[in-house]
Amino acid sequence: VNELEQRLREAFDAAASTVLPGTLRELGSDAPRQPAPSRRVSWPARIIIPAAAAAAAALIAVLAFLAASQARTPAGYPAAGLAGTPEFLVAAPTWLNGGPLQVRDVATGALTSRIRLPVKDGKTTVLGGVSSDGRGRYVLAVHAVTVRETWLYQFSLSAAGKASALTPLAAQPTLPEVVSGIAASQDGQKIAYGIDHCHIFAGSVETCFAQRLAVLTVATRQTRTWAWPGALKTPIGYLSITADGSELSFVSGNDDTLRVMSATAAPGTVAQRSRIVALARNLGRGGFSFAAISPDGSQVFVTTDPGTLPWNVRLVSVRTGKARVISTVQGTGLALDPSGRELMLLSKSAADDVQHPGDLSLIGLPGGTASPVAAWRLPVELDPHQAGYAW
């Protein structure tokens, strides 16, 4: 791989260096072009099209808000013993490459706590994942890059959203690899995680290859693992677990394949023990951009990323694999509330860009009624493409 990477660098450098310094035209000057269909639009269109897009986005937001205010109903969904939806959201700004976790009030966006990752032996640590049990207790995986060790920590939130100190999980597995994705059952007794072998480049976790899927039973300190087969070994994505810790769902195969698996499956490979529920390619363009199993394990809530609008929020039946669109709000899922009542969504519009990745919405489940979270906007450092979230 290293030799191939070197050849790639040399080839790209050679091709790029054909653009010589001093040959570029001045900013704002047009080059004489061969006749070709122009992809530029006239100046009136440059004004009218964004204005129309903005008007359409505003209309959608108003309609969504009206729909939410008229149609929002009690969840009517198996609540799995939780009294209500959590008030706080834990967000990891840069997911793998450092940065403190933020605890934010869901309603107002107020920052209630910052949680710094522990430093091991003075060396860089990176976050592998954070998950909530739905009762204000959280577990997170941290990898110390230079000493090649992953540790699982836990913390809790007070009623005011203040985080306790991180404490190592008593049932600490020995993990030299990197953990990608973590999911905790509602009693906190089952913790599922993916185990990757990653290339480390300049102190940063780079290309990762999935090695195993694991479920730790905290009380017995026993870990079940299943090997991840296949030559490509792409990392496990969007790992989630049911409230009782009995079933897992996750995405594999370059974000294309949604699978479910029993957390008590017999030893073997993930391919042998899991079942394919849906393929993203059958739902339209793009791979899965979010997936989370419902607390009772009957459904998986998914969003796909087609690259361009429209996006969709769907509910996939675990039993039949049938998918149906439950929300017309365009966006990508960020986190499923552990009670299964609400999905936090980043709703997208054509006007969104790097600085404004979108607006937050809460999708009531399973009906799909939308409530825009008008009080706050996702800060830039919580870009959903980098960040991890847990209610």
Binding site: L4, R7, A11, A14, V19, L232, T234, V354
Partner: protein, 170 residues
């Protein structure tokens, strides 16, 4: 990034940014679209877009990520417009690298570039951002507006495919 919006007019600031970063960005676009002229068009459009977006950018550290994303999106638009043009009855000539440019690239490197060109669009983008700009995974994820998991898996798959095509052992 040097200067500031307060010390310089917005036009001057954009021109200063162009002077500082145009070469890097045109080279990036050249790798994505295949020829300098189209690459320059893409970058000019990116700076036009920057001019409009500048008041909304939180700080100057956000400028380069913004420009990279706009350049990648512009390159996609350019390639899409070529595909549309190719389907029309009147054929238009697709810009090609010049003979001089081709002569500057050795046989082995041309083979590598040809193998890269045969990959899906997202794979090409990830490889260029990783191995030309040396961006870490999370910055590639931001540039392409995808998850870092998608970047990692795309990178792994692209490397494996390239290795197979170039008859290398992983």
């Amino acid at each position: 990034v040097t200067g500031s919006a307060t010390a310089l007019g917005q036009d001057d600031l954009v021109r200063e940014l162009y002077q500082a970063h145009a070469l890097t960005l045109v080279r990036l676009a050249r790798l994505l679209v295949g020829d300098q002229q189209s690459a320059e068009d893409v970058v000019q459009e990116a700076f036009l877009s920057l001019h409009k977006a500048l008041p909304r950018l939180a700080d100057h550290d956000a400028v380069m990520p913004y420009l990279r994303t706009v350049v990648v999106n512009g390159a996609r638009s350019e390639l899409r417009s070529r595909r549309r043009a190719a389907r029309r009855p009147v054929r238009h000539e697709v810009p090609q690298p010049s003979a001089e440019a081709a002569a500057m690239i050795s046989e082995d490197r041309r083979a590598v570039l040809a193998a890269v060109a045969s990959l899906p669009r997202r794979s090409r983008e990830v490889l260029v951002l990783r191995y030309y700009l040396d961006l870490p995974v999370h910055e590639i994820a931001t540039t392409l507006s995808v998850s870092r998991g998608t970047v990692s898996s795309t990178l792994s798959r692209a490397i494996a495919t390239l290795a197979s095509q170039l008859r290398e052992e992983l």
